[in-house]
Structures are given as C-alpha cells and as structure tokens.
Symmetry: C2
Subunit: 465 residues, 2 copies
C-alpha cells in the first residue's frame, strides 16, 4: 500500500545491483516479512531465487508465506527438495495449507513427498475441510493447558512450547479427551499468583466455533467479541485449532470485496485486479452482462406493445432514461443497504415486516420529493426550452397532462423499486441464496420493466390511448 | 448477530420478570460485555437503569462501553453524578471519547464536570483530534518501558501497571523525552532470559503512524503487518497512544460500509439500519436521487432532438432500456472494481495506463460477446415474435439494418462505459475526491447519454435520417 511503504525500495535495488549481498540480506532481515516479500516480487524473475536462498531459514519461511502464489510456485521449482522441506516445516499449518491450495498439483505432490509424515497427515486433514469453513482457515499451533497446573507451571509451559505457536496470548484448557473446558488469557496468568490453579482462574464460558462453520461467521465472532483468537472444536467439542484475529481481518476484507463484486454483477475473484489476466477478468464479468442483457427482452416487449402510442406521443420516450434511472437508483439504494445490514448481522430475517414498513415510508417521502422536483423541472425547464419543438409539432395538446403522467409514474416507480429492493435480498437469504446478488443491476432490470408498465398504464389512462 | 447469540435471552428475561435479581446479575456477570449490553437494550426502557445499577462497578463500565449511544444517554440521565463518574473513570479513553462524541451537549457537560481534572484534560486533548484521524481512535492506555530495564523488571512493571492497559501484549520503549525508540512484544519478554536488557532485545524498526493520519490508513497498516497494536506518535515522534487490532477491525468494517453506501448513491450513515429513523434515512438518500434525476435532463434533450426519427422508427425506442442498462452495468463493473482496488491499495494512481489498457481489452472482449449475443437474440427472437407487428406496420424495410445498429451501438457503449468507469474513480482520487462516489449510479447517468448519442449517430448513418 502506498502509505505503508516504510522501506526504501531503491536502496535495496541499489544494493542488489551492485552485488552487495551481505548488506542486502541484513537489510531484508530487518524488514517486516510482508515488505521483504514485496521486494522479492519486484526483482527480475531469475534473480529472486538467488536472493531467497541467501536468507536465514526462519525468515525465509516467514517471507515465503507472504509471497503471491505465482512466485511461490516459481521459487519451489528452483529450490532443492531439502530446501523446500526446510521452509515447509517452518510454516504455520494454515499458511502451508493456503499455499498448497493455490499451487499446481505437481508442485503440491513434490512438497508433500518431502514433508515429515506428521506434517503430511496434518496437511491432508486440513485440506479435507470445506473451502471457506472455519476448519480451512484455522491453525493447529495453539497453547493448551490442563486444569491442575499452577500459573507458574503454565507460564513455564508456554515459555517451553510457545515459540512455534501462532499466538501465546491466549491458552486453552482441555481435559484428557481434548475436550475444550476453559480459556485463560496470558494477561490473567501474569496477574495471578504463581501458585494459583488454572482450573480456578480459567473462564469456563468459552466462546468457540465448529470446524464446519463459515469463515465469515468466525471472523464476525472475533470482531464482535474483540478476541485475539477463537477456538475451533469438532463435533465432540474437542479442541482442534484456533483462528487468530489477523486471519479474521483478512477474511472480513475478502468477504467485503466479494460482496461488493457481487453487488456490481461480477463473479467473485480472489486475485488483485492488476494480477488478473484480461481473459480471466472477462470471464468474471460476461455472465451477468449476458444474463441482464437477455432479461431486458421483457422491457422491449412492453415498449413494442405501445408502438402506436409512441408514434403519436414521441415525447413520452424522452423521459424513459430519467424514469428508469431514478427507479433503478432508488431500488439500488435500498437493496444495497439491506444486503450490507444482513451481512453485518444488523438485519435479521425476522425483521422483514419492520424493514418493509420503514422502506414504504422512506419510499413515499422520496417519491413525493422527486415527484415535486420533477414537476418543477419538467414544467419549467423541459417544456419551455428543449421540448418546445415537439410540443409545437402538434402531437401534444396539454403540457400539464404529460407532466402529471411523469410525476405519478416517478412516485410509484420509487415506491415499487424500494419495496422490491427490500424484499428480494431478504427473500434470497430466506431461500438460502446469497443476498448480495440482489443489488442494483438485478433490481434495475426488474424496476425498468415495472416502471415502463406503470408509465404506459398512467399515460394511456390520462391520454386515452 | 444471529449466529453469535450464544446467550439465552429468554432465560434472562424470565429471571428478570420473576424478579430473581441476584441470579440475574450472576448470569449477566458471566456474559461477554457485548452480549450483556444486548440484553440491557431489549429491556423495557425504565427497567434498564434498575438492572444496570445492580451490576458490579467494573463490569458496569465494560457493559456501558458496548451500549448504543441512545441507551447510554438515557442511563446517564437516570444515574447520580457519583455513579456516572465511577463508570466514566473505569472506561478506556478511546471508548470514553467515542461516547462523548455521540452524546447531547448537556450530558457531556455533566460528565466532564464530574470527571477528575486529569481525565478531563486527557478527554479534551482527544476531542481536539480531527474526526476519523488516528488521534481520534487511539487510546493512551499502553505499556511503556525504558531501554535500561531487564526483562524481569519489565515483566514486573507490566504486572504492576498493566491491569488498566488496553493491551499488555506489546510494550513500547521510549526515552526521557517520550520519543518512541523500540517495540518489545510480551512474547519476546517471556522467551528471553530474565537478566537480558530491553535495549538489547527490542526491535528498533518500529512501524508507527502519526496522530493526523487517516484512521483507514492506520487500520490498513495493522492488517498489512498483522499487528496487535500500532503506536501513534506526534510531530516530534513522541509516543502519545496506540490503536489496537480490535479497533482496526471496527474501522475497516465501518469504512467498507461507507464505501458500499457511497457506491449506491447514499450519503454515509453511521447508525445501524433499523436504528435510523425514516426521516434520517430519507435525508441520506434524497440528495443523490435528486442530483441524478436532474442530470438525466441531458438524456431527454438527446431524445427530443431525434423526435422525427423516433416518430418514423418507433422500434428504435424498444432497445433503449437494453442498451442503456448494458452500458450502465458494464461501466459499473469496472468502476466498482477500480474503487475497491484503490481503497485496498492494490491499484495506485501511477497504474492508470495499465488500468486503461487492460479495461480497453476486456471491454472489447465483452463488447464483441454481447454484440454477438445481441445479434442472435434480436435477429432470431425479437424480430420473429414480438416486434413482428411493428415491422409489418411498414415503418421498417430491413430487419438487418436495425440489428446492425443495435450491435454496433452495444459494442461501443460497453467500450466507452468501461473506459469511463476506469478513468473517473482514478481521476477523482487524483483530484483528492472520494473515488467511491464514481460508481454505478453516477456512471449510469453519463453512460446513458453517451449510449444514446452513439445509438442515434449510428442509426442516422445507416437509416439516412
């Protein structure tokens, strides 16, 4: 990120170009791994492995975990089996699994072949959790304690075993069958007397999730309860892993992006924009464009049905864009608000009547305002300047009639649009679909058709065609 | 949140209704504060203070911090000065400031009057930071160490002073002038030998932000570097506060919601949907609806200009909705992608040429696909069924001509829409405006006009009107 580039890319490149490798490696070691990974990514492709091999084993693994999958794959193919294995064993299980999920099958095979049997078994277990489940994002590197330990013993245990754990700031208490019994933050261990017993100071009301839960639910729980980590249990409430707050941040960011993409009629992508190919971007965008284009057939049918009237009152068509856009915008406002509310858990399915009642009143207020503004605009501006030619051409007898038609239509278009915008996302969620799809583009297509039907109905009533 | 309701609301309500207050208070004490706050919020208005007063002082403060501003204000007005003061002194400074910013002026006055002079001075300092700046979200309750301490002394210092700190898991090293010199995670203190010197084990390459930095930048840094807290310094690099990861989560969630609202032509709200009044919701939605409605005047002008042609070729109007919607959708897809990329820091201003070149190719692919699909659809379906009457009415001589006009128009509409969708958000950011406003509704209005101009230009060329 622009604002976050705390490191001097030019200085590193200079050291690299002048082959001052030991100074370069020293500088890289001082950088946060995520920044070091950014530097490796800008190096010429065949030079990145050269630098990477000079890094210390543990910082190499940390930097490796932050690289883009493409570069990870390239690096793996240029390293020896031994080197790959060293990096792999240093990674946290969740990072290793993420990485393997992105890599080509032959590279995965080579990595798993070289891993220790324990690592291999664990990786395979993690790979079997459904995508986007808590199981697939959790890590098994957590601190567990037993009830009978004293605080001093617990701290000693953390000092001995904590170095490889993803967090040491929360410890979990399990019984002999590994069933989760309590939670103890390190803060509490530190503030208790050394001889106090864990069973007495632990909090037995643990907030936890199941391996099958959705990763978004888990991230929302971490955010809701301000946790550093959330324990994940299997069906028998045995502790199998934890999800840490930094992973929750990534999940929430990715889920927000996914919702935004769906709301804009794009199939979700998981790569950054500039790293996605043209053909791939096209594939994510064309399905909805096609679907929405085809469904516009319905609006054509409505217009075709009134061809004679249009021939006689051509001025009616001049307000098509304004009426349809206003309806679409009004519906989009509501649907997007409801979709976001559902996703943040601020709106529940049971709130449907409250939502409809509120939207109805908001819609009537918006409808009245826009109708009044339309009246002023159409009557004062449009008729007296731009549309004069049309009026003088004799097709129209009464400005006021057209003006009335437009105002009535825009009012009802807004009311219908807002009700559709409120009901479709809630209905989708009720039926188990993703509400995010029910946003502007989809709503627009429906609202266009309804608006035109209202328009022609009102017009035929007033103009008697 | 539905999924997160781990507590039994009915059980608590039952205890409350049957006046089993001591059992109720015991249950509430076991709950996470955020859940206890939810329970208080559903109690009848005049009963909430009754329950609240029975709570222990420290849990009362923690629960108070999680309440909605409305209920906080009501509670404060029903408590004595002494009670208000007790709660207030227990709060973290950032929570206290958030709370005061939401409360009516007379309540704020009453609270500040009762606060200790130190608290009052600190609050006033925090209230002076610009809204949405790092200074306004940071807290001053952090752990600071000096270089010359040993690890054992540092841990002892944390045990003595840490109880009121927002996090004890990262400590910051400052010199006599309070200038930030280094950072030591508690993990490292724990894993080092008791007699090691802080100056030797601290990391001097601290990642930090300034009080004036935007809160979104700060939250992005915390997410990017997987931090538990980020230190905030003043202009002289003196440490004045920290922002913790749980606050970063809230900031990122709020900023994503704000972007989504702006993209849907809504002025940003900061209250949950169901807690916002009808009139307030109307006020957030009507400005953009009005603006977009008025700017549609331009499209009316274009259509009015071609009134004679429309009279003769009424079938042309049947494709208005399809052409304009497709253009709007195509432009919306691009603009939303670019806006999100800019906000996540995946796209930078310097990438403008890469973005345009990529969108141009994607647009041409999408344009060709949609044009081909349109050809098939219009030629096979529309002409042979729905539009037959119009065609037979004699206004048209050649189906193929109309079909060609539509295909050419939809191709160019998509190309223009995607270029506009790419350039406007980047341009807005370049000029210092918020790119999020340049999303679908705004793009649609522009693309509508351009599409109609292309449509009539192509049609008049082919049909010679």
């Amino acid at each position: 990120m622009e604002e976050n580039e705390k490191f001097d890319l030019e200085e590193l490149t200079e050291l690299f170009d002048t082959k001052q490798y030991s100074a370069l490696i020293r500088k890289i070691d001082e950088l946060p791994p995520v920044d070091a990974a950014e530097f490796l990514a800008v190096l010429p492709e065949h030079r990145a492995p050269v630098v990477f091999r000079m890094l210390k084993k543990d910082s190499a693994a940390a930097i490796f975990a932050e690289l883009e999958p493409d570069l990870q794959t390239k690096l793996v193919s240029s390293l020896t089996d031994r080197e790959v294995n060293d990096i792999f064993e240093e990674l946290y299980v969740d990072d290793a699994v993420d990485m393997l999920e992105e890599m080509p099958a032959n590279v995965v095979k080579r990595i798993l072949k070289n891993a220790t049997p324990e690592t291999r078994a664990e990786i395979n277990r993690f790979l079997s959790y459904p995508e986007d489940s808590a199981g697939s994002v959790m890590t098994s590197e957590f601190i567990d304690l037993t009830k009978n330990l004293t605080c001093a013993e617990a701290i000693e245990h953390i000092r001995k075993t904590g170095i490889d754990k993803e967090t040491v700031y929360v410890a979990y208490v399990t019984n002999a069958s590994r069933v989760l019994e309590g939670v103890v933050p390190l803060k509490q261990l530190l503030f208790s007397e050394p001889d106090q017993i864990i069973g007495d100071i632990m909090n037995p009301n643990v907030i936890y999730a199941h391996t099958q839960d959705d990763q978004e639910t888990v991230a929302n729980m971490i955010s809701h309860y301000d946790l550093i980590a959330l324990p994940i249990v299997d069906k028998e409430t045995r502790l199998v892993g934890i999800v840490t707050v930094d992973d929750a941040l990534d999940v929430l960011e990715a889920e927000a992006t996914e919702d935004i993409e769906k709301m804009a009629a794009i199939l979700p992508t998981d790569k950054p924009y500039l790293k996605t190919g043209v053909f791939e971007t096209w594939k994510k965008r064309i399905p909805w464009l096609l679907l929405l284009m085809v469904s516009a057939t319905f609006t054509s049918t409505i217009i075709t049905h009134y061809e004679t009237a249009i021939g006689a009152y051509a001025i009616l068509t001049a307000f098509f864009p304004m009426l349809m856009d206003t309806g679409g915008n009004a519906g989009g406002q509501t649907s997007v608000t409801i979709i976001r509310g559902l996703s943040l858990g601020e709106i529940h399915l049971r709130d449907v009547l409250r939502v409809v009642w509120k939207e109805l009143r908001v819609a009537m207020l918006c409808g009245l305002t826009i109708a009044a503004a339309t009246f002023l605009k159409v009557f004062s501006v449009d008729f007296h300047f731009k549309a004069r030619s049309m009026l003088e051409s004799g097709a129209m007898q009464n400005n006021l009639q057209i003006c009335l038609i437009i105002c009535i239509t825009v009012f009802f278009a807004i009311v219908v649009a807002k009700l559709v915008g409120a009901l479709l996302p809630i209905g989708a969620k009720r039926l188990g679909f993703d509400p995010a799809v029910m946003a502007s583009p989809f709503i627009t297509t429906i609202v266009d058709a309804v608006t035109l039907m209202i328009y022609f109905a009102v017009a035929s009533h007033i103009l008697h065609f």
